[in-house]
């Protein structure tokens, strides 16, 4: 990744292709274009959530901080580094990068876990880390968002009305909570697509499928 990724590059760069290392015309490019609406809308989702034209009360720096945190929690190094890099180059983001790295190393665990509504499923309840993000270096608003992101990444079945109320008390509007929820949830999708395509790239095309000269 010597050239770097930018949402504003011309011609536009596809984020997933960039991170996975998918070349135009390769077998994985062909595979992705077999689901072209998905390819376009995965990119569109990333642009809308991470580089919006209007930030609607949820700043670009905050979005990139959440994205770095979520990618880091998954241990997906390439996308984690990409988001940290974008964070460091955004407005006041440089100061946040060290804090995010620290929260990632403290917050990483294994999921999913959590509790079910009381009853027959309670025997499947799994305890796990309930991560508290200190507001010290980053402020109440972002620390509440990161705490919520950790809940959604690792133990979404513990989610509750109280968790949303905590966000509201930290200054998040209802609309901004919807966008924050979309951002974190979308990222859990995006990192899995990146992971899956990276596994396929290393595996290479199945013998007898795809054209040998188009492999990369």
């Amino acid at each position: 990744m010597t050239t770097g990724f930018s949402f504003e590059a011309e011609p536009p760069q596809d984020l997933i292709d960039y991170v996975v290392g998918i070349e135009s015309g390769s077998w994985l490019d062909t595979l992705r274009r077999g689901r072209n609406a998905l390819r376009d809308n995965a990119q569109q989702s990333a642009v809308l959530l991470l580089n919006p034209e209007r930030d609607e009360g949820f700043s670009r720096t905050e979005r990139l901080a959440v994205a770095s945190f979520v990618a880091g929690l998954h241990g997906e190094q390439d996308i984690y580094r990409l988001y940290l890099g974008l964070l460091e180059r955004s407005g006041e983001g440089h100061a946040l990068s060290a804090a995010i790295r620290q929260f990632v190393s403290e917050g990483r665990t294994r999921g999913p876990y959590g509790a079910y509504p009381k009853g027959a499923l309670s025997k499947e309840d799994l305890n796990g880390l309930v991560f508290d993000v200190s507001a010290g270096k980053i402020g109440n608003r972002l620390s509440a968002a990161l705490k919520h992101a950790h809940l959604l990444v690792y133990h979404p079945r513990d989610a509750s009305a109280d968790a949303l109320e905590a966000l509201q008390q930290a200054g998040w509007s209802e609309t901004a909570i919807v966008t924050l929820s979309q951002l974190v949830s979308f990222l859990t999708f995006q990192v899995r697509i990146i992971h899956g395509l990276t596994v396929l790239r290393h595996a290479g095309p199945a013998v007898g499928q795809g054209l040998p000269e188009s492999t990369s």
Partner: protein, 207 residues
């Protein structure tokens, strides 16, 4: 405080304590938009205008463009039948992921969808009840459910070994890609449904 109060009586709003194929309701914890607030931008985000009747989509319509991109991704993953995995297996993956993450509402919807597309009702019922398919399920189904689960672990557990085993079982790369897409997408969907509201059993079934 604008969090929707859970002030209905337990009789009217009983949360399911088991995975089920019953038709559940879903109630948002935040206020959805009202139909009178919708503009063309919102309808474009909803994609299908009938979704203005759904509290889930009307809540997500607070960020209409993001909802639109989500919905168009969803439709291509689950309804584009040009090549790739049969729809009943895509819906099986959605069900297996939802069972693993613990989304009772999502699992009920997609178990029904898989069944409607020709999936085994018995196998799906066992998956919902126990978290695993019965041992006598087909090899293809066992693999789809297993890979869906590996993709849903954090950190992600999917590896080259799964690609090899899927190929040995006869899955081609377009089918494997659909399985990755369907499983990944339900990690997105489950987290929205689990964190923005809660499911209830249909009122008429609670005698």
């Amino acid at each position: 405080m604008s969090i929707t109060q859970q002030n209905a009586s337990p009789q009217e709003h009983r949360e399911p304590a088991l995975f089920t194929t019953a038709l559940l309701d879903w109630h948002p914890w935040l206020s959805p938009l009202e139909e009178s607030e919708l503009t063309e931008v919102h309808y474009e985000g909803l994609v299908d205008r009938a979704r203005a009747k759904s509290p889930y989509f009307m809540l997500l319509a607070r960020d209409p463009q993001v909802l639109g991109a989500r919905t168009r991704s969803d439709k291509d993953i689950f309804y584009n039948t040009a090549g790739g995995l049969p729809r009943r297996e895509r819906e099986l993956a959605a069900t297996a992921v939802s069972r693993f993450n613990g989304c009772i509402y999502c699992a009920s919807v997609h178990a029904r969808f898989s069944e409607r597309q020709g999936g085994s009702a018995e196998a799906l019922a066992v998956l919902l009840a126990t978290g695993s398919l019965p041992v006598d399920a087909t090899e293809a189904w066992l693999l789809v459910a297993e890979v869906a689960r590996q993709i849903s672990e954090t950190p992600v557990g999917f590896s080259d070994v799964h690609v090899r085993v899927l190929r040995q079982a006869g899955f081609n790369d377009a089918e494997i890609f659909d399985l990755i897409n369907a499983s990944s997408f339900f990690n997105w969907a489950n987290r929205l449904m689990l964190s923005l509201g809660y499911p209830t059993l249909p009122v008429e079934k609670q005698a």
